[in-house]
């Protein structure tokens, strides 16, 4: 295997041979245990455990200015991948490298229910490492993006799930993260909010950031992303231009929905054929001058505000 003489210098996120396994309790009958084993386990109050492989040997390199959609069926490891990339969970194997702290916006992340929306904005900004002045200054901007009206003064426990999701999305974008991970946040909210949040994401992407977007809706990915990863049972099926990957995935999902498993299998096999496995090598020493640069236009992450500069050096 010849080594490429191109060294990639615009990488913002490197995922190197990542695997994630969970031990979970399982139904005793399904685990095929005998009566004695079940009795013993009942006495200590623990069910039998199974290993779930949420992600298996996933590798890829993301670059500044890329917006990467992640598609796949329920339970294919999309959300787990985002949590590991965000550093919120420790992988069983492999590693994640990034140029700055990735920020995850998930639908499950609750803030402080007793506090008002405005107080949560301030607290969230401080949690992301903004200084008090900047956190205070961010409140009106975030409130405008979330567009909650007077509800911004009400405690967050009184919010509907859609309102809370909008607030979370708005807070996460306040720190101007270079690497933004979005888990289905755009599915919530009305057309007006979707438009504003897409504009906000576009602005983040222009600042040479990298955006990851998990969505069931392949069409959203086709429209907003530049690149897509298709996951199935925790493995990468295909990694390529969003239009191609999302289209293949939509055909696959459609075939499954129409109960045509053979057709679905044919589509996914073709996709696997087209996929090129990646082995990542991170060079610790800077590449010597004269070596050809990566063909990709080199986008240096700009640091428009002190916020981003600060987030970067904190890592």
């Amino acid at each position: 295997m010849p080594w490429p003489d191109l060294v990639d210098e615009s990488a913002t996120v490197v995922v190197d041979d990542l695997s994630m396994r969970y031990h979970v309790t399982a139904d005793a009958d399904e685990a095929g245990l005998g009566r004695t084993a079940r009795t013993v386990r009942a006495l200590v109050g623990r069910g039998p455990s199974m290993i779930v492989r949420a992600i298996s040997s996933v590798s890829f390199v993301a670059h500044g200015g890329e917006q990467i959609g992640i598609v796949g069926q329920n339970g294919s490891g999309k959300s787990t991948l985002l949590r590991v990339v965000a550093g919120l969970e420790r992988p069983s194997r492999g590693r994640v490298l990034a140029t700055s702290q990735p920020v995850l916006i998930g639908v499950n992340a609750a803030l402080q229910p007793e506090l008002s929306g405005a107080q949560n904005i301030r607290l969230g900004c401080l949690a992301m490492g903004l200084d008090p002045d900047r956190a205070r200054a961010a409140v009106p901007e975030v409130a405008e993006l979330a567009d909650l009206g007077d509800a911004i003064r009400r405690p967050m426990k009184s919010y509907s799930s859609g309102m809370a999701a909008r607030l979370r999305f708005a807070i996460a974008t306040a720190a101007n993260p270079h690497i933004l991970l979005i888990d289905e946040a755009l599915a919530t909210g009305d057309a007006a909010f979707r438009e504003r949040s897409e504009a906000r994401m576009e602005a983040l992407r222009r600042d040479a950031g990298t955006v990851f977007l998990v969505s069931h809706a392949a069409r959203t990915i086709e429209e907003t992303c530049t690149r897509a990863l298709w996951l199935e049972h925790g493995r990468v099926v295909l990694d390529g231009p969003a239009a191609d990957v999302a289209l293949r995935y939509r055909r696959f999902a459609w075939a499954l929905a129409k109960n045509r498993p053979n057709q679905a299998r044919k589509i996914i096999d073709a996709a696997r054929q087209a996929h090129e496995e990646v082995a990542v090598h991170v060079l610790r020493t800077p590449a010597p001058r004269g070596i050809a640069r990566h063909a990709r236009p080199r986008v240096r992450p700009r640091t428009p505000a002190g916020v981003t500069a600060r987030t970067r050096e904190e890592i």
């Binding site: 969970e89 992340a109 607290l123 969230g124 949690a127 496995e277 990646v278």
Partner: protein, 287 residues
């Protein structure tokens, strides 16, 4: 594996740093310091949230140790007559109950800090030690009320104390108690995050500690048992209460030995608690 047909991708690692791994302790400390505003805001938020859950709110901070004190007074002071040999038993009891309540709130709050902060942990990446430390900050903010009530009660209840310059040493005792409690909160936060059952054990441990810290009896009862006396004098909470009573009630300068024992415990536990908490930094999201 499939490595044979894998495309090799070379990446310049210059700007890349690992995500989600535990940083070296110096970096960790620096990040914790950078999050100090978050820590205080989080503590204030919890103070506000805590007071809204009951009708009397903040008043309970003062009322619960007062009610505790009344209970101990009735049972131990009047029925079991543990007050014998204690000059100014009421003041003795008030100082003991009020100061011990700070430690027990820090420990129980610290034990729950990771579980109750899980939503924050999953949403934002920040040094997780912020959560138990924020609990201690919250209790220090709450303590403003408790301290005022304690000093007023001691002044109002007979007999009248000899107020001396030594009262000025009280903040120093409290500062050492805060350091001690920070270490403890970090330690129990780590334990409960790993094994949730520890939370139940902590309740018993705290009760044992309360009884062993001479809150409502005097150490003089054990003059015939030198081992018991030695164990109690090594107990940091006994020393906190003893020193606080010396400066507030009896106008006596505490022995240098007491300060040494207390400072050793406080900074020792802080160092151990901080190291133990930091060593499991990357596991708290799962617990």
């Amino acid at each position: 594996m499939t490595a044979a047909r894998a495309r090799q991708e070379l990446v310049a690692g210059g700007d890349l740093v690992p995500v989600g791994t535990r940083p070296p302790i110096a970096t960790y400390t620096r990040r914790l310091w950078q999050r100090r505003h978050f820590l205080v805001a989080e503590a204030r938020a919890r103070v506000a949230a805590g007071t809204r859950q009951t009708i009397l709110g903040t008043a309970w901070l003062v009322l619960s140790p007062v009610l505790d004190g009344v209970t101990y007074y009735l049972i131990f002071g009047l029925l079991l007559e543990t007050h014998r040999g204690i000059e100014n038993f009421l003041g003795y009891l008030v100082v003991g109950v009020f100061l011990f309540s700070f430690t027990s709130r820090c420990v129980s709050g610290g034990a729950q800090s990771i579980t109750s902060g899980r939503a924050m942990i999953r949403a934002f990446s920040f040094p997780r030690a912020s959560l138990p430390v924020a609990v201690v900050v919250r209790e220090v903010l709450n303590m403003a009320w408790v301290f005022t009530a304690m000093v007023l009660l001691v002044a109002a209840l007979p007999p009248v104390e000899r107020v001396t310059w030594r009262v000025l040493l009280l903040p120093l005792v409290f500062a050492l108690q805060v350091v001690l409690c920070t270490g403890l909160a970090l330690l129990v936060a780590r334990w409960t995050a790993a094994v949730p059952d520890v939370k139940v054990l902590i309740r018993f441990a705290m009760r044992l500690w309360l009884y062993g810290s001479a809150v409502f009896f005097s150490i003089d009862r054990f003059v015939d048992h030198p081992t018991v006396v030695r164990i109690m004098e090594a107990n940091p909470m006994f020393v906190v209460l003893d020193v606080a009573r010396d400066v507030l009630l009896y106008g006596v300068t505490p022995a240098p030995g007491s300060w040494a024992v207390l400072a050793a415990w406080a900074f020792g536990l802080l160092a151990v608690g901080y190291l133990v908490f930091w060593s499991a930094e990357d596991t708290y999201a799962l617990a």
